[in-house]
């Protein structure tokens, strides 16, 4: 009698555990997809910037030429996901990263573009990517 009760408890335990376990596995896969999405998204955004490291914008400030560009610091891009309250998507992520603006100064345009760039501005940005129909989008 005692043995049968234990077997029943163990069986119920297994029934209860299995879906939760597969849910956790599913969530870790979605998190892995999110990490891959973030890397791809940030790389793409940097590539699509009109003014970038390879093509800085040059303007005059007083008698000096200033070369400037903006880029996302990929090392700062971090995303955390959670269940969404919306009926339109299952999960939502909080993606945080820093967008840095660099400047270099010179007496000529080419001196400015080939000089040492230093960070003059930081924007701490947050975006909310969504998990829709099995994939992340933003």
């Amino acid at each position: 009698m005692f043995r049968k009760s234990w077997m029943g408890i163990a069986f119920c335990g297994l029934l209860l555990m299995t879906p939760a376990n597969s849910f956790a596995v599913n969530e870790s896969k979605i998190q892995a997809d999110l990490d891959a999405f973030v890397l791809q998204y940030v790389t793409k955004a940097n590539k699509r910037m009109t003014v970038n490291r390879a093509r800085p914008q040059v303007f005059k400030r007083g008698s000096k030429y200033i070369a400037t560009f903006t880029e996302i610091n990929q090392r700062t891009a971090k995303a955390q996901m959670r269940k969404s309250n919306s009926k339109h998507f299952d999960y939502v992520a909080t993606l945080r990263y820093e967008e840095l603006t660099f400047e270099s100064e010179g007496n000529t345009r080419s001196e400015a573009t080939s000089g040492q760039f230093r960070c003059v501005k930081i924007r701490k940005l947050t975006e909310l990517p969504r998990y829709v129909k099995g994939k992340w989008e933003n």
Binding site: S86, E105, E111, L125
Partner: protein
């Protein structure tokens, strides 16, 4: 006594954590720096308002600057002029070793018969500057007076010419017009220079912190929530269902932040400027109205239509998508 020591330790720990957290939000403006102390005869003279010699005041200021620099992985050295010399070898910045080097500088010495070969000092140290990681800040603490030898302004100009990525900053202990004029000319050679009075830095910790920020790092200036996919029906201000879902999530973030938010609506470059300006304003208004419905106080939201965005390349579909966005700037 033991309790006091524990309290002191706890306070130091909290301050350490706070300062580490602060440093994590900062980006260094320069990769290396040199603290350059003028040890000339005129610096050994008393500054009556400071009740110490100018050299002693310069030591105090340089020590305070060294303490206030956030640990962002700089390389550093300490040099002197009049006479030119190396006090701390160039290498990874070590706050404690730099403090020891500053403490070893002279506070008192021979006053008469010693002119200041400042330009010669710049020239003597320029070889060391050439091998420093760029960008480099040279923080000069001097009274600028009684110069002899190479013209210091011309020598600083020559260093600028030969060594791009270097920048002279001035902490002035000048008590003569002539000395201040020399320092002003050095600071005026390049718009990168920050020029301050040593007495101000001694008297006001905020002024000292500002100087350190201006020379050594950039703080996080702006924070924003960027939303893509907040779409409207064609030529309309009506939010589609998906956009409402995104804004529901944004409202959660906004309610957590008790700050005023400027809501900027941006479009891609398709269409005329005037049309996009009006469209973006109306859409920004629609987004604001929806967020207010979700419980974000209207008084904390200002909607602005920014019109066309050229931040991303409008020649590509991806670029246009990234340009069509709503930015919520936390003020």
């Amino acid at each position: 006594m033991k309790t006091f020591r524990h309290a002191l330790f706890a306070a130091a720990l909290v301050m350490g954590i706070a300062s580490a957290a602060q440093a994590a939000d900062l980006v260094r403006k320069v990769d290396s720096f040199d603290l350059l102390a003028d040890q000339s005869g005129s610096m050994m003279m008393q500054a009556p308002e400071l009740k110490m010699t100018k050299a002693a005041a310069a030591k105090q200021v340089l020590a305070a600057v060294n303490e206030a620099i956030p640990d962002l992985g700089y390389k550093a050295s300490v040099h002197t002029i009049a006479p030119a010399g190396k006090v701390v070898e160039y290498g990874d910045w070590n706050r404690s070793a730099t403090a020891d080097g500053i403490a070893s500088l002279k506070s008192e010495g021979v006053i008469f018969g010693r002119m200041t070969p400042m330009g010669d000092g710049f020239a003597a140290n320029s070889g060391d500057y050439a091998s420093m990681a760029r960008p480099t800040a040279i923080v000069l603490a001097s009274d600028g007076a009684n110069n002899t030898g190479i013209d210091p302004v011309a020598e600083a100009a020559a260093i600028y010419q030969a060594q791009p990525g270097i920048c002279f900053h001035v902490i002035s202990f000048a008590d003569t017009e002539e000395g201040q004029a020399v320092l002003d000319k050095i600071a005026g050679l390049n718009s990168c220079s920050v020029s301050v009075k040593g007495a101000d830095l001694l008297a006001d910790q905020n002024a000292l912190n500002q100087f350190v920020a201006d020379v050594f790092y950039t703080g996080a200036a702006e924070e924003a929530l960027v939303l893509h996919g907040v779409n409207f029906a064609f030529d309309s201000y009506a939010l589609d269902a998906k956009a409402q879902g995104i804004l529901d999530e944004a409202a959660v973030v906004l309610k957590e932040k008790n700050v005023h938010v400027t809501l900027e609506g941006w479009t891609d470059s398709v269409g005329t400027d005037a049309y996009n300006k009006v469209l973006s304003q109306n859409r920004a208004n629609a987004v604001k109205a929806y967020l207010v419905q979700q419980g974000v106080p209207a008084s904390k939201l200002t909607a602005v239509g920014m019109g066309k965005s050229f931040k991303y390349d409008n020649a590509t579909e991806e670029g246009r998508y990234l340009n069509r966005r709503v930015e919520l700037l936390f003020n």
